[in-house]
């Protein structure tokens, strides 16, 4: 009897707890803002958390649930986040084709009223308003961008009597000099081959011009065009001169950077976020320059990807999401991100007078370019990007032996199919 009583008591106890748990979940109608971010690199995470802390301090009545996912995992998980109902409220994302993908599928909320309410159309640089706009409505809050450039270790270059190469011939001779000195000329980690895509982007823009490049990204030019084959001819020359770190596919991008941090490699074609992973004491030894000119007759293009935020169409708390986006896109927040992370602001009213030398130089670099592209995997469709990245990986695995014509034919087959699918989907 006693035993029975205890068992029943335990059962009732468990039941009460369960009901309480379920009740607490159901009764959670307090307007929480759910914010998901991919800012998982050390520097970016710190800045992201600081922004959330600022919001929480200023808006105690609008609590925020913040969750940071690893960059690559976030790219895959975001689709689940977006189709769930209720979804999350605010998410970090990339401008360009990656954003358009969600807008086309009706998963991003129309932010036009927010842009009007906050008067952003007047304070954001017009190029970024254009980037936020699709079908005459705004869906994306572009808050920062960074530049891609040829990073180098000043001390190593000086020790070998070198300056940043400005032309193709200079680049090749720089490789020869550094090789003779026992230094890896250019480091690269291609375990995830987007680092190789940067080489394709810049070579294509320098050889064939940005217009051809962007049309190729839009699937309007053919991959079997001889101009694309030219890119690989130039690329191969770099391998003939042993410019790159051998076995690069064994390293991720940070693994490639380690060679440069240790002083074993001199240069790296990388985005401005590279300095997030450079030890404090050698940061001043890092400098960057525009990618060398190859064909002086074509306009100068540069990769300068833009990051920002958007709101899910199924956001359970749209008012809160609007307020939080207004905060993220505000002058104060952009100023903070620019000062803390060295990213460049998209607003015209951010005070740039305290910017570091690197930031000033980065701004000048982007402004001196005739055309600003996003990046291979942001400018073209996700599926084409995957096919392209695989082809680049295959090429750099055996640059001398790779059958470039076959690779390009395979890419062209992908391009034709993907373009037809997009056409069919309307």
């Amino acid at each position: 009897m006693n035993k029975l009583f205890t068992r029943r008591a335990a059962f009732v106890f468990a039941l009460v707890i369960m009901i309480a748990l379920v009740g607490s979940v159901v009764a959670q109608d307090e307007p929480i803002i759910r914010y998901a971010s991919y800012a998982s690199d050390p520097g970016a995470r710190e800045a992201d958390e600081a922004l959330v802390a600022q919001w929480t301090a200023a808006h105690p009545d609008q609590p925020l649930e913040h969750n940071i996912t690893d960059h690559e995992a976030f790219k895959q998980a975001i689709r689940t986040y977006l189709v769930a109902d209720p979804s999350l409220d605010v998410l970090t994302w990339f401008a360009g084709n990656r954003m358009a993908f969600f807008v086309d599928r009706g998963l991003a909320a129309d932010l036009t009223p927010l842009f009007e309410r906050e008067g952003w159309n007047d304070v954001y640089a017009p190029g970024f308003i254009a980037l936020a706009t699709q079908d005459e409505a705004q869906y994306f809050v572009p808050t920062s961008y960074y530049w891609w450039a040829m990073y180098f270790r000043t001390s190593i270059m000086e020790a070998n009597g070198l300056t940043a190469p400005a032309t193709w011939d200079e680049l090749l001779s720089t490789c020869d000099t550094l090789n003779a000195a026992g230094i890896v000329p250019i480091t690269i980690g291609t375990q995830a081959p987007w680092t190789a895509a940067a080489w394709f982007d810049f070579l294509n823009m320098r050889i064939n011009g940005p217009e051809f490049h962007i049309n190729l990204m839009r699937l309007q030019e053919s991959y079997t065009d001889p101009r694309v084959a030219d890119v690989f001819t130039y690329w191969r020359q770099l391998y003939e001169h042993n410019c790159f770190l051998p076995d690069s596919a064994a390293y991720d991008w940070q693994g490639g950077l380690d060679f440069m941090n240790r002083g074993e490699a001199a240069m790296y074609l990388m985005g401005g976020f590279i300095t997030d992973s450079v030890p404090e004491e050698i940061q001043s030894d890092y400098d960057f320059a525009m990618f060398p000119v190859i064909n002086p007759d074509v306009p100068i293009g540069i990769d300068a990807p833009t990051d920002g935020y958007f709101m899910s169409v199924n956001a359970p708390n749209p008012e809160g999401a609007y307020d939080f986006l207004a905060f993220l896109g505000s002058q104060e927040s952009q100023q903070f991100a620019a000062d803390e992370l060295g990213r460049l602001p998209t607003r015209t009213d951010v005070d740039t007078s305290n910017f570091t030398e690197a930031q000033q130089k980065g701004i000048a670099l982007v402004q001196s370019a005739d055309y600003v592209a996003q990046f291979y995997d942001r400018d073209t469709t996700p599926e084409m990007a995957e096919a392209g990245l695989n082809a680049f990986a295959e090429f750099i695995a055996d640059p001398m032996g790779a059958d470039v014509a076959a690779l390009l034919e395979s890419l062209e087959a992908d391009r034709v199919r993907i373009a037809a699918e997009i056409e069919a989907a309307g």
Binding site: Q191, D247, A397
Partner: protein, 322 residues
């Protein structure tokens, strides 16, 4: 007589009553099984006929086509998907290696450690230890081993080559070792090295269990008949281990078809080292092509069924004989 009929009647009614109870208990797990296993399996077949991107509403019945299959196998004038050909080939290589290397090594080790050699228990534990590690841990450990510049494997190779070159002047010392995971021609074999390392212990344990269950009188009889060590193994022990060998072979085939984790960890965007499961994952989750991913999944399932069904059929048949 009457009592017997009454008893029989009672027995039958009781049996009838009991017959419902298992089904009642089974109802919940069966419903869950249907919901989480059966339905998704069939739904994959449906998805494989669509071009669903994982986000948009799932295409309706009027949008079904065999386009994905045509693209995969290269039907209707297309060339077969290169990634599919590579991944499928890699699965075959994986299977061939798994059917030969860990099986023989596992059997050999089991034969050795089944004797009373000193430290057998310790050796058994060491060979079995990799099995308790997750694939992610195994992959990470082997990535360090294979690291081209500082990894232990290349350090040894380079070190040995330099020492040898000092002793034998005709040997040129190696500047650096192979790229292993970075080398597209070596990556799959390097991953297989890690996979075999784990699998050997598994096979060994299965054979050890089999050896423990052998009838000692048969061994004794063979010994009395004057069989030597190899004859004993070849004519008595190995045939007696037949059922275990079948299990080992089936497990090897299944394990090689479902290989995913090591490839995913060691070469995340593999390409050259992809197996079908990774190819499916990349298409569905990286490329937003759930329809095409489902097509690959269906293909993989069909391949597995071709191998598993005869085995299940055989097992069921032998069980019925009891």
């Amino acid at each position: 007589m009457a009592a017997t009929t009454g008893e029989r009647k009672r027995v039958t009614t009781a049996r009838r009553k009991i017959q419902w109870a298992p089904y009642l208990f089974l109802l919940v797990p069966l419903a869950l099984y249907a919901m989480w296993i059966i339905f998704p399996t069939f739904f994959s077949f449906y998805l494989s006929l669509t071009n669903w991107d994982g986000i948009a509403p799932i295409p309706g019945l009027d949008h079904l086509s065999f386009n994905n299959y045509a693209r995969l196998f290269g039907l209707g004038g297309q060339t077969a998907d290169r990634d599919f050909v590579v991944s499928f080939g890699n699965n075959i290589k994986w299977m061939l290696v798994f059917l030969t290397v860990p099986t023989t090594m596992g059997l050999g080790l089991a034969m050795i450690f089944n004797t009373d050699i000193r430290g057998a228990r310790w050796f058994k534990i060491s060979f079995y230890a990799p099995l308790i590690l997750s694939f992610v841990v195994i992959g990470t450990i082997w990535m360090w081993i294979y690291e081209p510049r500082a990894g232990i494997l290349n350090s040894v190779i380079v070190g040995v080559s330099q020492t040898l070159s000092q002793i034998f002047p005709f040997i040129t010392p190696l500047e650096r070792g192979p790229g292993w995971l970075a080398d597209r021609n070596l990556a799959l074999w390097a991953i297989l090295g890690a996979a075999v390392w784990r699998q050997v212990g598994y096979v060994m344990i299965l054979y050890l269990a089999g050896l423990k269950n052998l009838d000692p009188s048969l061994i004794e009889a063979a010994r009395v008949d004057g069989a030597n060590g190899f004859q004993m193994f070849r004519k008595v022990i190995f045939p007696l281990l037949g059922p275990i060998t079948t299990v080992v072979l089936v497990i090897s085939v299944i394990d090689s078809l479902r290989s995913f984790d090591l490839v995913q960890v060691m070469t995340p965007l593999g390409g050259a080292s992809n197996v079908l499961a990774n190819f499916m994952y990349i298409e569905a989750f990286n490329n937003y092509q759930f329809g095409y991913g489902a097509t690959i999944a269906v293909t993989l399932l069909s391949l597995s069924l071709i191998i598993i069904i005869p085995y299940l059929y055989r097992t069921a048949k032998t069980e019925l004989e009891y």
